[in-house]
Amino acid sequence: MLLEVKDLHAGIDGKEILKGLNLQVSVGEVHAIMGPNGSGKSTLSKVLAGHPSYQVISGSVLYEGKDLLEFEPDERARAGLFMAFQYPVEVPGVSNSQFLRLAYNEKMKHLGEEELDPLEFNDHLKEKA
């Protein structure tokens, strides 16, 4: 089992939004979560990504058998749990290539692989493009 959410209760500002959610995702599966506005889709993704404004009240989340809720947001991202933003944030003053390279190198560090310098990363980007 890749991701296992068990009886998850979570919310924001003291208001409970997820009231006992269960979900199991195995390797290679694609799941789409649908529901009306306010049913907790965003709350679930933010809780899984580790947004500091959301609180887990009870329940558990296992990711590759480990307690996901113990990890910091950046540790979750490097471990492979990734959240695509509906409204991506623009970070003023930081160029895309700087930002992509920093994120890429953090992932490489995590995997124990070599980091790329700006020139190497530029080549890498061209290959991918």
Binding site: G50, P52, R78, G93, V94, A103
Partner: protein, 382 residues
Amino acid sequence: MAVTTAVVETQYAEQFKEFLRAEPIARLSALRREAFAIFSQIGFPTPRLEDWKYTNVSSLVSGLWLIDSSESELVDSDLPFLQRFSFERNGFTALNQAFGKISVIRIPKGTNVESPFEFTFGGEDGKAIFPHVLVIAEAGSKATLIETYASKAKSFTNAAVQILVEDDAHLTHYRVQKDSAEAFNYCVTEVNIGRGASYNSTNINLGGGLSRHDIELKFTAEGGEAWVDGLYMLNGAQHHDTHSIIDHTVPNCTSHQNYKGVLNDKSRAVFNGKVFVRENAHGTDAQQQNKNLLMSNEARVDTKPQLEIFNDDVKCSHGATVGQLEEEELFYLLTRGLPENLARNLLTYGFAEEVIRKIGIESIKSDLDEAVLNRLNVKLEV
């Protein structure tokens, strides 16, 4: 060591007598005497004065400084401009007029000077320097100034820069203060802007233990435009104070002011920006902003944007913010796998970069990028 005011005043008085003996220009001697008399009368500013409420210079005042000034380089025709310097502003400006080492940059009428005019100052340990630069951008000229303070010691810099941007002239001005963290730096910039002229300045304050920059900018004819932007980035126990006055005395002029501050550790900053729109200055467009990032609980900023409007037909805005990094931006970077420390530094860099990236000269820009990154201890290799 406690030094009484009398001893302090005597040290300047004795050095002044000696300095004056070597002054070859008689008319300058008269001006210097007048200025020193004012200094003797008012002394250094104290926090009892409203304009100096948050900046206490007593640690500077109690020090003993050896005056390090030499012969001025100016011709008789420069004297009237020098005489317009408002040296009675405070004890520092009076002392500058008394001891000032005057130099003149004159950009001839209608010329476009490609390579920038650079002047760099830095005092030695225990010494006081008094640079005083007159800049005259004659009608229709175009040029760039680079003013740098880079003392490596416990020095006292007391500088004055007078700028005249004549009709239809365009002047770009970069001022970088990166004195050592033990140094004292006081500097005043006075700017007059003529008809259809523009003045675009960026003021970067990174250095000095105690530094203050006073700016006074005045539009003297219609159609002028000015940018007065700046960044202060402080660490440790550094203290920086910027006081600016932008004076719309005539109609149809535009001013933009964007000052940003990043305060770490126990550092402290003061921003006081006054914008005046006088009675007949219709068609004025004045925008002013001061944003501050407090990176530690012990850092402090006192910011006071002031807008005084005596006319209805104007477009003005002003604002100040003091805060921490945006939580949503931080979270976004974390979800991209950046560790929290790096994410915070990247956001801080981006905040400062908004001022730095305006700088049109690549060598200064990359120097500053590096200085900012060094402070943040982050490698971006921009």
